[in-house]
Amino acid sequence: MDDFLLRALAGGIGVALVAGPLGCFVVWRRMAYFGDTLSHAALLGIALGFVAGINLMLAVALVGLALAGVLVLMQRQRKLATDTLLGLLSHTTLSLGLIAVALLQTVRVDLMSYLFGDILAVSGGDLAWIWGGGAVVLVLLAWLWRPLLAMTVNEDLARVEGVPVLATQLGFMMLMAATIALAMKVVGVLLITALLIIPAACARRFARTPEIMAGLAAAIGALSVCGGLGASFRADLPAGPAVVVAAAALFLLSQLFPRGGTR
């Protein structure tokens, strides 16, 4: 197998292992649209990263964090529903990103590779970021696991029981922003949410505990990456979309099984 394909596999699997468990919380907490918003803002992060001359993943994560902060502030106003706010922020930041990229005179940005991913161009440096950053995200997620789960069940109850709700929430948003930054290269900003929620949705059917669901989601995500890359290599398909379609195919397949999990 070629080197670039091995790197693509390693990068894709690395991202899937992080996106699976985190995606479970996205599904449980019904935050899919939030994930979309964060990933749409990633393009703005890329443009700003170019301008500032810093690592693009770092720039994307920072912009995602800023956006999460803005969202929390706007939610406190209670003037507009959260999905309206998300729609507003999501498309505004995407448009700002597109404009900013167009305005960048000095560097030519390959827009398509950021929108849909460029997994076959994953470099050794990218791999170090994905696996190093991914490990940090997973360790932090394990650390936040119990309070996050408690909050997901009932936020008021968690607060009464002394769970630091705001800090946990901010921590979770940070992990989301970081994961999106890591996944950007693999599936592109338009498709990241798919990698978060489809494996988790697929895993639900087979899981009896939250932890099993998280583990299964990671495995299903890794399987999707392998399948998508394989199809991409054989049939010359765009790799990012092929990974997402592979995940969706696994989801469809999972629906054929009788319910093994709870309910």
Binding site: A150, V153, D156, V160, R208, T262, R263
Partner: protein, 261 residues
């Protein structure tokens, strides 16, 4: 009532949402072993008062005092766990701190939900879920149980059982109980003190006294004779069926959709 026995105490508690005053100078004390029930029409501020006591709502004025080290067992109005979260009752009960399997089983037995330990939370009926949530609160070994409309999602037959269970629990554990209730009949039976709230405290005292208070009757359009016989048997029946104060018959039905109301 000795002051040391007080578990929580609000003094001149006022809560405003924007320009709207939801609670105005509310004084409330709940002591150890005492059952205090808040009743009032929709939007009367019952849930807001609970939230302030729990520290979930910042007062705009006045103070909320909690006994130092007070352990509160809170039972929220409704627990809605997303269907995508695989969670058994046993796991739900272990989410809030270390508990042993034996303790979980014993507490579930106490609330009559022993057979549910390994069921998915989403498969429970309204009444079963409330009993499990009661077990959750008990596992924290609370000094004070705070219940927000415990019987809201429970069918009529289950409501009597649930209130009887709450009564039995407070007798066994000696904890104080502060609850919001909509259904006057069952709630009142085990209550030591009834507080009728409508933005401010309209009237408060022993249920059989409050029930005859003109403010209470004006709010609920209820006279003692309209209540179940086993309840009104405690008091004299001489207050007549037609009460002149019933001009604003607010519906005391179980449909308060405003948890912050």
């Amino acid at each position: 009532m000795s002051p040391e026995a007080a578990l929580i105490k609000t003094t001149g508690l006022t809560v405003q949402f924007g320009r709207r005053t939801v609670l105005q100078s509310v004084d409330l004390v709940v002591s150890a072993g005492e059952v205090v029930t808040l009743v009032g029409p929709n939007g009367a501020g019952k849930s807001t008062l609970l939230r302030a006591v729990l520290g979930l709502q910042r007062p705009s004025g006045g103070t909320v005092w909690r006994k130092p080290g007070l352990r509160i067992g809170y039972m929220p109005q409704r627990l809605a766990v997303d269907a995508t979260l695989p969670l058994t009752v046993r796991r739900l009960l272990a989410l809030w701190g270390p508990v042993t399997d034996a303790a979980v089983d014993e507490t579930l037995r106490e609330v009559g939900a022993a057979s549910l330990a390994d069921s998915p939370v989403q498969s429970l009926s309204g009444g079963e879920l409330q009993r499990v949530m009661l077990a959750r609160a008990l596992l924290r070994r609370p000094d004070l149980l705070v219940l927000d409309e415990p019987a809201q999602a429970v069918d009529v037959a289950g409501q009597a059982t649930l209130y009887a269970l709450i009564d039995a629990i407070r007798r066994r554990h000696g904890c104080g109980v502060l609850m919001v209730s909509h259904d006057l009949s069952y709630a009142i039976s085990g209550t030591d003190r009834l507080i009728c709230l409508n933005g401010h405290v309209c009237c408060a005292g022993r249920p059989e006294d409050v029930r005859r208070h003109p403010d209470f009757q004006a709010l609920f359009g209820i006279d003692p004779l309209a209540m179940p016989a086993w309840l009104s048997a405690a008091g004299p029946h001489s207050h007549g069926a037609a009460t002149p104060g019933c001009q604003h018959p607010h519906d005391p039905g179980p449909k308060d959709k405003h948890p912050h109301g």
